[in-house]
Amino acid sequence: MRGNAEAHELVAPGNLAWVLELLAAAPGEWTPIAGGTELMVAHAAGRLAPKKLVSLWGVPELRFIHASAESISIGAGATFRDLRASAGIAAELPMLAKAASWIGSIANQSRATLGGNLVNGSPAADSSPALLVYDAEIEMVSARGSRRVPYAAFHTGYKRNALAPDELLFAVHLPLRFMRSRQYLRKVGTRRAMAISKVALAGVALIEHGVIGEIRIAAASLAAFPARLNQVEAALLGRRIDASTVAAARAALHAEVRPIDDIRSTAEYRKRVAANLLEEFLNELGVEAPRR
């Protein structure tokens, strides 16, 4: 333990209104901490910059999963264990359930929250590709009220996002309109357990009369933040799946992504593997008869 506990203030207001009041009184001064799976690592290493922290753990208004016929709403304080335990998510949003199982270990999943994963904004965030292709919407809340943005517009740069200094991520809303879609999610890491992804790719698509009628593709670890691959989608929309379509999609991916070399992988490897994942998805789409 190289950090100094006495150098940091931590308060636990215990309910949402009081947390928002604290943030409103001094915007930007308080750093929210939920399950601590990111910030406590920095703390132990002696590199936790924020001096004033406000605990969101145990704030009851943030920990929920509500399902209706049209959508599932997940509170920012829901843990990945909560997500994995949700029958609604398993049935309606299977890729999100799968992504939740990728998060670290059981002990990490019982503390790490969906909101924390998104606000932390790692380019490699496990939950992000699935949320992007599921057209998630982010609800943010402050003492001034609440507002929504598409998740695709939430990340604005490396570890930067659309939250104002007095705002919290409140919930993630997911429309339930993908039951007929073909879905694909794959992560490539060093090993199956406890690995941060080298690259991950998610896709949903509808095949109509032999051509791609609707398609969304998103990736992690291919840019400064998790993002949709709009150029790849454009290269595929309305096309029949054949060798030339696959080649065009691979070329579009190579032109669109901006991976980097880092301790986990190289830009070149990431590009090539991402293109392979894309091809795997397209090959699955090319096979007749959706499983559902």
């Binding site: 333990m1 506990a5 006495e6 203030e9 931590l10 059981i106 002990a107 357990a193």
Partner: protein, 169 residues
């Protein structure tokens, strides 16, 4: 004002505790330094190795990643609380019988993760055992004897063993 001490109350292994500590002090350090429960170990200090695993409100957590303020009011179980009334938990007995412990550093965390696993899956598949222990690293045994210990404990029906922190859900 910075991290002045607060009084934090929680239950550890069935005993009510009140500690004076900076709110950002890690639960692991409070357990070891303030409560002298040195069974929980620090390996990596970043939630990767699992040697600090404890159960908090029925969930497995890495105590190195819990600021003690977030344990306020919680029910915590450490490896010291696994044996009850002088009798080892079946998983502890199985570790002895199967050679599940070697150098011992990972053992408290393995026992807590294994006990958590058995409380949810009394008769786990090998896949469930592998996943349940994936966050606990052992560099001695090669894991096989640990998996065998869990299987042996499951055969003794661990689920029937009461534990004070394992049934919050």
């Amino acid at each position: 004002m910075s991290g002045h001490c607060a009084t934090i109350r929680f239950t550890v292994n069935g005993v009510q505790c009140a500690v004076e500590a900076p709110p950002m002090k890690r639960l692991l350090d409070v357990l070891r330094e303030d409560l002298h429960l040195t069974g929980s170990k620090e390996g990596c200090g970043e939630g990767e190795c699992g040697s600090c695993s404890v159960r908090m409100n029925g969930e497995l957590v890495n105590s190195c990643l819990v600021p003690v303020l977030q344990a306020e009011g919680a029910t915590v179980q450490t490896v010291e609380g696994l044996a009850t009334e002088g009798k080892l938990h079946p998983l502890q007995q199985a570790f002895l019988k199967c050679g599940g412990a070697q150098c011992g550093i990972c053992t408290p965390g393995m026992l807590m993760a294994g006990a958590q696993l058995l409380s949810i899956h009394p008769h786990p598949t090998m896949q469930e055992i592998r996943e349940g222990l994936a966050g606990n690293l052992c560099r001695c045994t090669g894991f096989v004897r640990i998996f065998e210990s869990v299987i042996a404990a499951a055969a003794q029906d661990c689920a029937s063993v009461s534990n004070e922190a394992g049934d919050a859900r």
